[in-house]
């Protein structure tokens, strides 16, 4: 038996309401979904500005959503980023992937612009536009709680209404924030929220095969110290990584001027657990849920937000970090980028941020007031406006997350070449360089890192095209996910085939970015990392990155990817490319 992949619902918003069309998934073989599907939907129109009505906004699930495949509950939200101006996809946890699958949909693509602030509700595959000007600019918790919608809700808050490039899409009741300024992309469609609910069962081609493949993955997850261990993500969330980045001198401190935080023990995951007695939350079907909700209902920050709202802004108070994080979620502001913009300002202005000042500036960023309005355009734009571009710790304008690249050369390369800007989860180099999975590599060497970066990017692109979580790589790999896909769809596939699909997804993103004017000049890191060493450890140094080694690794990466020395796709390929996964 073969399972036909869910259709794609295309929604066009116009002055007279909505027009919808349901089109079959272009790949009867059933993959990709998620990131691959979103890129496919964006490919022909991604040269447009982010706020052009014809620029698509995509929500994509995939063939493993809704079938209880372990760690496969991550939908993708993608468009052209108002922050980076690259193609940009963000993974949404919660229930979105499952709700889309239960609507019988692989994805939803939205174009056009609603006549007034509205909500888009999709129930069992049928779309309805509900004008709601009264909700525009409301806090995200208020929007979600007042809607009382039975499925999953994505919404934007005041930050998007005020045009902030750091505006986040906020997912569900627990306030997961999606990066890249995608909140502004939603607002550009005049959408305040998108809500999805489905009640159809999701068909499976081979239930016994799926159960067996599922067991294989669950065994590996149980054996993964990072996911299921006594100090792993399931118990402490990704904040568990803070102790590791601290001991390895990889914690970005004071806008990446130092790499070890004196107050790390006061703000680490065990400290948060003691202070806030959190409960677990996470994606549907996740055996190692990494979300943590405080007893008072506020979401607790994961590693990137926790580290940046403490170490990066030199704040030793965990209560302040949690308050700032909750405020960001409520205002629909990306907390990682917001903290980075604040740290950039603190460095340029020489200002130490008091607790009141920090919370005040976050609120100002969300409401477009004074200095906050400047900071809300992102660290890169802010620093450029003051002729201090070197003070923005960002790649392609995406503020770097909570791993200092001087502590891991593969990470440094992956930040630079990432198609969506400075992101640690595109190649997940911290898996092998920090967490020693699937194998430990020498973090202070560029040797071999070009191939490792390309290989890992391909694997991640494939996994994210199945709606799998990047953390899956800490336990399993394509070898385990290929049998899951085969069982779910009835189409035989292999790890090798999935890796090739992943490679095509990355190449498609590179083609889009090249059309948008990106080249090797953008595949680079802030100069600080090549000129200033990080904080030394007890028995090791954290030297500045060697520029020549970095450039050699980047050139090798381009050769491995078949790109030109300037990081561009072959012009012929770029003109004639037809997505190979469309059978």
């Amino acid at each position: 038996m073969r399972v036909t992949p869910g259709a794609i619902l295309r929604v066009h918003l116009g002055p007279r309401g909505i027009e919808t069309a349901t089109v079959p998934h272009p790949s009867p073989s059933g993959f990709p979904g998620g990131r691959g599907l979103a890129v496919m939907e964006l490919f022909d129109r991604a040269h447009l500005p982010f706020d052009d009505p014809d620029t698509p906004l995509c929500l994509a699930a995939g063939p493993l959503a809704g079938v209880m495949a372990p760690l496969c509950g991550r939908a993708v939200v993608a468009s052209v980023s108002p922050l980076t101006h690259t193609v940009f996809d963000a993974q949404a946890g919660g229930r979105l992937a499952v709700e889309l699958a239960r609507c019988g949909l692989s994805g939803v693509t939205v174009t056009g612009r609603a006549a007034e602030p509205s909500g888009l509700e999709i129930v069992d595959g049928r779309a309805t536009l509900r004008p709601c000007p009264e909700r525009a600019g409301c806090s995200t918790t208020k929007i979600v709680s007042r809607l009382g919608f039975p499925g999953e809700v994505l919404c934007v808050g005041p930050a998007a209404a005020r045009g902030a490039a750091l505006a986040a899409v906020v997912v569900g009741r627990h306030g997961e924030t999606l990066r890249g300024g995608l909140g502004l992309s939603l607002a550009a469609k005049n959408l305040v929220y998108v809500a999805v609910h489905g009640a159809h069962p999701v068909p499976v081609a081979d239930p016994a095969g799926l159960a067996s493949a599922r067991e294989d993955v669950l065994r590996l997850i149980a054996a993964s110290p990072a996911l299921s261990g006594g100090h792993g993500f399931a118990r402490f969330g990704t904040a568990a990584l803070l102790d590791l980045t601290d001991s390895l001198c990889m914690t970005p401190v004071r806008n990446f001027r130092d790499t070890r935080f004196a107050a790390a023990k006061q703000v680490n995951a065990p400290a948060l657990a003691a202070l806030f007695a959190p409960r677990r939350s996470g994606c549907r079907a996740c055996p190692a849920p990494c979300g943590k909700i405080a007893r008072d209902g506020r979401p607790l920050p994961g590693l990137d937000a926790l580290s940046h709202l403490t170490a990066l802004v030199d704040n030793p108070d965990p209560h302040l970090a949690v308050a700032a994080y909750a405020l960001c979620a409520d205002m629909g502001l990306d907390p990682v980028s917001a903290a980075s913009a604040l740290a950039c300002h603190a460095e340029i202005a020489g200002e130490a941020l008091s607790p009141d000042r920090l919370l005040g500036l976050v609120d100002d960023m969300a409401h477009g007031r004074g200095l906050g309005r400047e900071l809300a355009m992102g660290a890169a734009a802010y620093a450029r406006s003051l002729s201090r571009p070197e003070a923005a710790m960002a790649v392609k304008s995406l503020e770097l997350p909570a791993f200092d690249p001087r502590g891991a050369c593969g990470l440094a390369l992956s930040y630079a070449v990432s198609t969506r800007g400075g992101c640690a989860y595109r190649a997940f180099s911290i898996g092998h360089e920090v967490l020693r999975k699937p194998v430990a590599t020498d973090r202070f060497s560029f040797a071999g890192k070009a191939r490792m970066t390309a290989q890992s990017e391909n694997a991640l692109a494939a996994l994210e095209s199945l709606t799998a979580c990047p953390f899956a790589l800490l336990a399993a790999g394509l070898e385990e996910y290929a049998p899951l896909l085969s069982a779910a769809t009835g189409i035989e596939t292999s790890a090798g085939e999935l890796a090739r699909v992943g490679e095509e997804v990355v190449l498609a993103e590179r083609i889009i970015n090249a059309r948008r004017g990106f080249s090797a000049a953008d595949d680079d890191l802030p100069a600080r990392f090549f000129t200033e060493p990080g904080t030394p450890g007890e028995d090791f140094a954290t030297p500045a990155l060697d520029r020549r080694d970095f450039l050699a690794a980047r050139a090798a990466y381009y050769r491995i990817r078949g790109l030109t020395p300037d990081g561009l796709p072959d012009p012929e390929t770029s003109r004639t490319r037809v997505m190979p996964w469309t059978d």
Partner: protein, 404 residues
């Protein structure tokens, strides 16, 4: 890269996995490097890695005992399932967890094949799994990132085939008579056992405890790990070791080579003030429970083959848990004084972190079904090492007596 290739070739020979010169290794960044005497552009191994998009690959002709066991199962799988579906299903816990099954490639793998059809079959097999077995027992493995992954796979495949071979043979003796094929394969396997590192005649004198500081504890752990590997009680890619000093458990890191623990030991406070154990061995939860719930202060974990083989040798017939012994066995079974307990790797609901610590109360060693031996002591590694060695020696003698 040439140095790396030479280092892994030497490591394979030192572990008794293959004779010197009987492995071809290829690794690359943007260009290939390969074992001396082979053409990086034309070699079977580099072309296999190229076809897989992998960073490394290795083709290994194992020493006789491993090779004959692997060849026996390859022939059986090809006969039973045909060339397209043939696979070997390991019975030991770690290989089953991390490798699932081992595809079989029809035809000999040594010397390195030259025909495109075998290359295509090899690429097909490795696009599904980490390693594969040729008809003649030659092993092929790839490392998506680095050669270490291929080395771990080859090491695991050898262990898995040897354990499965002896286990099945013992089972057939118990239930009747092994087939003529298997008997002749056993004769060949037995004649090859001398190629493997011999068990030490006696336990070496190790650093004396108790250890009051981190430095002497770590030094003692490194010594115990190194000698456990050298004594053939575990392959370097497996096993783990820990020592409690104050309320900090020092434990080998996940993925660390047990015979190269310098700088590869994590200090994990047991007071829940830090998440340093994130990169500790996956058996950290079991070690932590052992040192907090029993008088033990050091824990040594190895995979001695014959102890693992006998842990799976059960007399019970018509047992309702048959087929789920590794997680569900309820029988009180022992190897000598050492209890045998079920339990999967890690801290899941059926994890050995739950079953092992109670079994070690008042004992020097316990065996996890199909997995390995955990040996403990309140002071240092001397008695723990000796207990593991004596257990393995006794198991080896019992197995060899029964299969003779």
């Amino acid at each position: 890269m040439d140095r790396l290739i030479a280092a892994y070739a030497e490591k394979l020979a030192r572990a008794g996995i293959c004779a010197p010169g009987e492995a071809v290794l290829a690794a690359r960044d943007d260009v290939f490097f390969i074992s001396p005497g082979h053409d990086p552009d034309a070699s079977f191994v580099s072309r296999a890695a190229q076809g897989l998009g992998a960073g490394a690959a290795m083709l290994v002709r194992p020493t006789r005992a491993y090779r004959e066991a692997a060849a026996h199962f390859a022939a059986t799988a090809l006969r039973d399932a045909g060339p397209d579906k043939a696979a070997i299903f390991p019975t030991d816990c770690e290989t089953r967890t991390f490798f699932h099954d081992l595809p079989v490639i029809p035809g000999p793998g040594w010397p390195p094949p030259k025909d495109p059809q075998t290359l295509a079959r090899a690429i097909h097999a490795l696009s599904r799994r980490k390693g594969a077995v040729f008809s003649d027992g030659t092993l092929l493995a790839h490392g998506p990132l680095i050669p270490e992954q291929a080395f771990v796979t080859v090491s695991s495949l050898c262990f898995a085939c040897a354990v499965k071979f002896f286990s099945e043979y013992l089972g057939r003796i118990r239930n009747g008579r092994p087939s003529p094929d298997m008997r002749s394969a056993m004769a060949r396997v037995l004649s090859g056992l001398d190629d493997l590192p011999p068990l030490p005649a006696r336990a070496p004198a190790l650093a004396r405890g108790p250890f009051t500081g981190a430095a002497p504890a770590r030094s003692a752990m490194a010594e115990a790990g190194r000698l456990t590997v050298r004594g053939g009680l575990v392959d370097s890619a497996f096993g783990n070791v820990s020592c409690l000093v104050g309320d900090v458990l020092h434990i080998s890191r996940t993925g660390a080579a047990l015979d190269e623990l310098q700088g590869q030991i994590e200090a994990c406070p047991l007071d829940n003030s830090s998440c340093a154990a994130l990169t500790a061995s996956s058996e950290f939860p079991a070690h932590a429970r052992i040192v907090t719930e029993t008088p033990a202060r050091v824990v040594l974990h190895g995979h001695p083959k014959f102890s693992v083989i006998l842990s799976m040798d059960c007399e019970a017939k018509d047992c309702p848990d048959r087929g789920r012994c590794h997680v569900a066995c309820r029988e009180a079974r022992f190897l000598g004084d050492a209890p045998i307990v079920p339990g999967e790797v890690g801290s899941g609901p059926r994890g050995l972190a739950r079953t092992l610590p109670p079994a070690l109360a008042g004992r020097r060693a316990a065996v996890v079904y199909g997995h390995g031996v955990f040996a403990v002591d309140p002071t240092d590694f001397n008695a723990a090492f000796a207990a593991m060695l004596e257990l393995e020696r006794a198991c080896r003698d019992r197995v060899l007596a029964r299969v003779a």
